[in-house]
Symmetry: C2
């Protein structure tokens, strides 16, 4: 941020009176430009048939992580709820109609100022197709999940949580939980 | 938003190519200025003694809702996690040291582009005091909660969820859950 979005005057990075951290402040109109984390919301679309569960993944047609696999998801928009964002992003990226269940995972990614959330979701049918931001969309059984080709650590962790809970549910040993986790950047990785 | 924060040129509100909703776009440098919901994170600081539970509330020293009671909370900052935000905001507003338990409630407030989250928290001691944004801070038993003097519907709903779960836990009939809820604005109320 270089200029005030209200009056076009250059901004300065300083700690406003009564505050305790640097903000972009306009020296002309005194507007303080706060910057806050964003929410990335998605779903875990599942299809159960013949005693097996499959999860719908999308192969990214955009950067970052072009060509890698991800759960459908994206930035939450103003004027919508977390669950509406999950349904919209799933529809946009995979063409899939889902019935949302509960909020399943919340993952902090502080180094990129993001919080990722994923809802459990049931595919209503198999009429899915790649949206503009996906190269392809397909169902994966547990054994076929491309663990080394996943786009982000939040996807990997959410899928791990899901299959752990799924095994418990199948064994009659509990229900799906709500999971929280922090992704902390490792020094030798250029991106999280 | 009137001017581009990158080059100071006036912005236009238009639907960018490949997008489906209006954004502020710079006609000079082509930067798209996305606007997204913010997270307000807080805690439900509890103190249990002699078989009774009390919740710490803060009376607001700032607008909106000056003079009304709230749970400690505020906007999540960049570079922090949801739980770190809950601890920081609790400390800033009430001076209280808390030990966080689980994430207890997530409430959508789409009309103001916010998602509110509250963690269950145990007060480590009774050394609390009003921070700069609070007029006073005190413990309330269930019977004394100032229901008609609460600052926001998300506070009211979170406290309702808490006392319902607390009653269940006391009756040996379950544990604290994770609750989600949407606050939908009523037409005849000027603020939510």
């Amino acid at each position: 941020m270089k200029f005030c979005s209200e009056c076009a005057h250059p901004v300065e990075l300083l700690v406003p009176e009564g505050d305790n951290r640097p903000r972009y402040v306009c020296a002309q109109c005194a507007t303080i430009h706060y910057q806050n984390p964003k929410m990335v919301i998605g779903s875990i679309p599942i299809w159960e048939e013949a005693g097996e569960v499959a999860v719908l993944l999308c192969r990214r047609a955009i950067e970052p992580r072009y060509g890698k696999w991800t759960l459908p998801g994206g930035f939450m928009e103003n004027n919508e709820t977390t669950w509406a964002a999950a349904i919209r992003e799933t529809q946009e990226e995979s063409g899939a109609d889902v019935e949302l269940r509960t909020l399943f995972a919340l993952l902090n990614v502080p180094q990129v100022h993001q919080v990722h959330m994923f809802y459990l979701a049931r595919l209503k049918n198999l009429d899915f197709c790649a949206g503009e931001e996906s190269l392809e969309v397909r169902l994966f059984n547990h054994a076929d999940i491309p663990w080394d080709e996943l786009a982000f650590p939040t996807i990997r962790k959410t899928l791990k949580f899901f299959f752990e809970d799924y095994a418990k549910v199948q064994a009659g040993d509990g229900d799906y939980g709500f999971h929280t986790h922090d992704i902390i950047k490792r020094q030798n990785r250029p991106d999280f």
